[in-house]
């Protein structure tokens, strides 16, 4: 039985020669049994929701970014075109170049590397242990995964809280920090280090589970052959496992990149993250605060458009990867 997972490494020869894959489910062309409009009927409700609540607002945010739209416009409903003024203001703001963009990009890169790295290590570990141990560990990482962003963030904030935090208290007991003068949330680097712990804790289970599933589909014979040829564990990982799992790594890396680029709740809920400390803003929180808290909807929309454009570039890379795999 060809399961979905089993078809992960694309069967290239089969595709090239046009041979049918064994038990290949594949979609069907109309055989006269079903009317041609049937798929569209099935799609209609989903398309209506996606169009009305995702595509139309996306168009609206683009329009808003070209308008002067503040509290008064929100009340009266009228608005004024200002062309690219919002973008000019945004692109000349040092906050973008010195704070928001570096915070967004550096944080995403660091977190993707850590999440995918740790997730892969955990997957390799899970593949080695016995069934019972694996069950226990999988349940534990599921717990980390299931922890909502809101409550997870609060726990990490509590841990590093200058007054009640366990980490801070422990360190001050050891005489390493002075809790009266230390606040790790006021500076960018420690702030984002705590956010990194939070996001990696929340994100590595997805990578671990996905990579493990792919590891289990690898033909055991290849590993044994490599072992017979004298390849060590390190060599086997880089020369056999990694090339075979490339598509999976591509997918988890790109999905993590997208998630870590637009991380919002985890930043917004940390002390200072909701706008009181501008040093820790990233594009997502900046856009939200500008629009919703300061009622500058036009400028907030421009920031949102910039973030979306960045994400679309990454999505384009994602799609290219998928198309190269011929999985669509």
């Amino acid at each position: 039985m060809t399961s979905t997972i089993a078809s992960v490494p694309p069967a290239d020869e089969e595709r090239r020669t046009g041979a049918r894959r064994p038990a290949g489910p594949g979609p069907r062309r109309g055989t006269g049994l079903t009317p041609r409009w049937l798929p569209w009927l099935l799609l209609a409700p989903a398309l209506a929701v996606l169009g009305g609540l995702l595509l139309y607002p996306l168009y609206r945010v683009l329009v808003l970014s070209l308008q002067d739209f503040g509290l008064r416009q929100l009340v009266t409903g009228e608005s004024q075109w200002v062309g690219l003024d919002n973008f000019a203001e945004l692109l000349t703001d040092p906050l973008l170049w010195k704070v928001a963009l570096p915070n967004t990009v550096v944080f995403a890169v660091v977190n993707v590397v850590l999440t995918v790295g740790l997730g892969t290590l955990v997957a390799l570990l899970l593949a080695r242990v016995g069934v019972w141990t694996r069950g226990v560990l999988t349940s534990a990482i599921m717990v980390a995964w299931a922890m909502p962003a809101v409550t997870g963030t609060y726990v990490w904030v509590l841990l590093f809280d200058p007054r009640s935090g366990m980490v801070m208290r422990g360190l001050s007991t050891l005489g390493l920090v002075d809790p009266d003068t230390t606040n790790w949330f006021t500076e960018r680097l420690p702030f984002y280090a705590i956010a990194t712990l939070n996001v990696v804790h929340h994100g590595f289970p997805f990578v671990a589970v996905t990579v493990l599933a792919a590891l289990m589909t690898l033909p055991q014979e290849l590993m044994e052959a490599a072992e017979l040829d004298g390849a060590g564990a390190w060599r086997r990982f880089w020369s056999v496992t990694v090339p075979l799992l490339k598509p999976v790594f591509a997918v988890v890396t790109i999905l993590s990149t997208i998630w870590d680029f637009k991380v919002f709740t985890q930043i917004y809920l940390m002390p200072g993250g909701s706008g009181t400390n501008r040093d820790v803003l990233n594009l997502g929180t900046w856009s939200y605060i500008t629009a919703i808290s300061q009622n500058r909807y036009g400028l907030g929309a421009a920031i949102a458009v910039l973030l979306t454009a960045l994400l679309l570039v990454i999505t384009a890379v994602y799609l290219r990867t998928l198309f190269r795999q011929e999985e669509l």
């Binding site: 979905t4 929701v49 996306l58 299931a146 909502p148 599933a213 997918v251």
Partner: protein
């Protein structure tokens, strides 16, 4: 028919439990110690925040700052406080209503759409799939601005139904993507057998595709439930009225200008987190296979 199409044989099988312990022992002693250490580290890192949450929630001295991993002075007062005075009973009911409504609507729409793209070839099918993928990447923060303005104009602020509509939209792309993996894994022959037996398409859908998609529906339901239950941005933007808070938004009131009631925050967090975790662990096999079907199969 049923013996022919036992659903579990068609689901992408999750990793755990499939294979007997692969080549254990026979390794050098050093790597066994390393594996044991690794297991301990994974357990500790995964569970540490949860342990801190639970301990703080049941410790009477939570706000004095405790460095103990286990509660020193056990109490249920924090829970009593958040449920009675903190309004959490209302928030839990609100969240449950929003999340369950989202699950029902989103799973149904995702199932129909996934069957369409997985089992038919039609014009613009690839374009459609690309569109679903692309809009999945759009950040919520970009859409919260126009949707807030829209909801305000329509008078939908402070209505739970407004949140449901938004959450359905946000969970739908990934739900379709996930369901599609399950719907595509059903062999064509099963479907054709139903036609040979004289079934119409709706009949075939109801008695063949739907039962076989059931595991996928479980996975999508968990996914949409968690999306709705955990969502924060729209919950705080659309809901200004305390009576319409969801749990994720309700926690904020324990942070005041006079300080933070950490005992209450963690008791509330426990009430939010535990149901989701239990649910998650119960369906983890289905869920991980669903995610793999969605993310890897592409």
């Amino acid at each position: 028919m049923s013996q022919l199409t036992a659903p579990q044989t068609l689901t992408p099988q999750p990793p755990s439990g499939r294979r007997a312990a692969p080549r254990r022992g026979r390794r050098r002693g050093g790597s066994r110690v390393l594996v044991a250490l690794g297991c301990a580290a994974v357990l500790a890192f995964s569970l540490f925040p949860v342990l801190v949450m639970l301990t703080t929630a049941v410790d009477a001295r939570a706000n004095d700052g405790s460095t103990s991993l286990l509660p020193t002075d056990l109490t249920w007062d924090n829970f009593r406080f958040v449920l009675d005075e903190g309004g959490f009973t209302t928030y839990l009911v609100n969240s449950l209503f929003v999340a369950l409504s989202t699950v029902v609507v989103s799973s149904l729409l995702a199932l129909l759409a996934a069957v369409a793209v997985a089992r038919f070839v039609f014009r613009f099918r690839t374009a459609l799939l690309v569109m679903v993928l692309v809009i999945q990447m759009v950040p919520m923060e970009a859409l919260v601005i126009p949707l807030f303005i829209q909801a305000k104009n329509l008078g939908m602020l402070n209505h739970l139904l407004g949140l449901v509509i938004v959450y359905v939209a946000f969970s739908l792309p990934f739900a379709i993507w996930m369901m599609r993996g399950f719907a595509a894994a059903i062999p064509k022959e099963v479907e054709e057998a139903a036609y040979v037996d004289g079934a119409s398409w709706p009949r075939m859908f109801w008695s063949v595709l739907l039962p076989l998609c059931a595991p996928g529906l479980v996975a999508t339901s968990v996914f949409s439930f968690i999306t709705a239950w955990n969502e924060f941005v729209f919950a705080i933007t659309f809901m200004n009225d305390q009576d319409s808070y969801t749990v994720a938004a309700g926690l904020r009131q324990f942070f005041t200008q006079y300080g933070t009631d950490w005992g209450a925050v963690m008791a509330g967090s426990t009430l939010i987190t535990l149901p989701v975790m239990i649910f998650f662990i119960l369906v983890q096999r289905r869920l991980s296979s669903g995610l793999v079907a969605g993310a890897v199969k592409g």
